[in-house]
Assembly symmetry: D3
């Protein structure tokens, strides 16, 4: 009997979209105002979903308090009130699009979640733009 | 051509998390403030999803008004303004975690929904914690 | 590495539910107040989800700005501030239920989205009623 | 000790904006696509606020269940799944803008609410457009 | 130049509505299912609004981090995961209606907020029912 | 008969909180992680409220389409996808707290809105922190 438990969280960060191999003109053409070299920012909203068997002793797939602690430690403390491009090693050479941030978050949490559990990430960059990643 | 139709609903209930086979110390350690013996409560938000073929006569997979009547009768009237542990036979011996409540709701609705239709339950305990169940 | 990117949008429209082969009595019985011959209306909320590989050059599955332009051109400009039954050829002979509108939107967008990408439509008719369609 | 109690509700309706004394050209110029003669529609979201003394016997300013019954009877049953222009006498000669609908709702409820209580109406036409009316 | 700064918070609690001077029949008649003697519960959502001059040194009316700490200490830690009737001295003899809880929260915070600042409380008991209190 | 009409909008920006007359230690002490010299960012959500008489010709206090155009021109195009500290002259010497941004927006719109109309700004920096300004 596999159930999915989910936890919502958020972090606020600055970023710039760019491909460092491209000219500024090409970057401006592709990324538009997201290429602003002085950065802009977002309130990112994150949903972490963990699927597994319900433990009959606890009625839990995973203690959501522990999942929340894990998200705080691995994601919130790493990215909140940061400049993703300048402050976060994960994006030194990786363009911080909502797709790439989702994959980075999945990889960071995957190694901390029970291997028998499936993991899905949903990440809202704005109320209108979001991404989902279920693993490679 | 299978489409999923979905209906949101809600109910407000009190509950306590506990394993009756454990000592109070062990329950306090595992369930923290959710073990409060005087109960606490939530506004539960429920999404019921039904997947099936669209009937060409009506354009409906299932009349959402009838699905709403079913949710009211089977779920809302059973759990709303109740103490899940004390008032609801379903949780006399089952810990009312968001996982277990989702499975109970799925089982209650499964027997009332057309067998050819798939059923998924999404249940929010708070704005940040929720569960999904698609059947065993 | 397949990721899903999603874009929210909306349109406001009038409609009436009916089966033109039925008597008014039968239509009233099945569709209730949705059969009102003078029409009623909704703020439809639409989520378009596109799944594909992340392009390593851009970090994009698909440029969400271009997806938004596509939704505006193909869906919003076609249905917004319209009477679905009277103004939209798609519903001249098709009952504009939330199921059928979802399938129509999927078909309109499917032919404009890269064939290697999967497409999912989520359409809210009200805050409580919605449909999902992932293709035939 | 005056407290304000509030109740949220909703209704779904079709409408057209127009001034019948104007030419179609003038109406089109002022009201744009809201002038569509075949109507469009909205999910209206309504908040009714009632301010008064807290009754020490009940702890209520006004029983919100009774306020909800009143809203259902006076507002929801009158406007839900209706065409405001064609079906509702209130808008036979009054343009159903969000401003005018708010004033009509205020007048309908004012005569049913205890005279010692203040009444405020908040009406959302869409998620982005809304009006507030506190009385003349 | 007076600006209002606002902070949202929440707490989850069980309660029962009753007037201990009344018979069970009278309580049942007035409070309906909210009189359930085994309690029910809610996710309360709280907005605290503080109005005052903007300090030219900081650009703050009041540091929202400090306001959040105050809300956590005075309100959240007192009421979260509690039974308002049984666990909270404030409601030993006061009926925990949304009106009365709002006034109690206002009084608890009023004595901790700078006397030159105005204080307003908004408290949601459910998504549809809420109260506002601006002081006696 | 004065009614208030309201329009929601948003913009995404980077910023840093600081008082340039203070030492970094003092800034860090007062502004905490908001002082990050590499900036962080937010999805700001803005509500603009305009109060005035309803024009009997149009049923409008003010055409919300024109209010939206004004917000886009004066606020969105000025602040969206910008670094408030580096890119916006308004905050060259003014700390971009939610209080100060609200006052700046009010001043920018005040000179464009009919003098007989009252103006109120509500600005959300995050889902939990927001400010309101009704004028000096």
């Amino acid at each position: 009997m596999r159930v999915t438990v989910c936890r919502n969280s958020d972090f606020n960060a600055a970023h710039q979209l760019l491909n460092p191999d491209w000219t500024p003109e090409k970057n401006r053409e592709v990324f538009g105002k997201c290429f602003n070299p002085n950065y802009h920012g977002h309130n990112y909203k994150l949903t972490v979903k963990v699927t597994g068997e319900v433990d009959p002793e606890t009625g839990y797939v995973m203690d959501l308090k522990k999942l929340d602690d894990l998200i705080r430690l691995e994601i919130h403390d790493r990215f909140d009130h940061r400049n993703l491009n300048l402050d976060c090693t994960e994006f030194k050479t990786l363009n911080p699009t909502v797709e790439n941030i989702s994959v980075v978050i999945w990889n960071l949490l995957r190694k901390k979640i029970n291997a028998g559990h499936e993991l899905t990430i949903v990440l809202y960059e704005t109320e209108r733009n979001f991404a989902e990643f279920r693993g490679a």
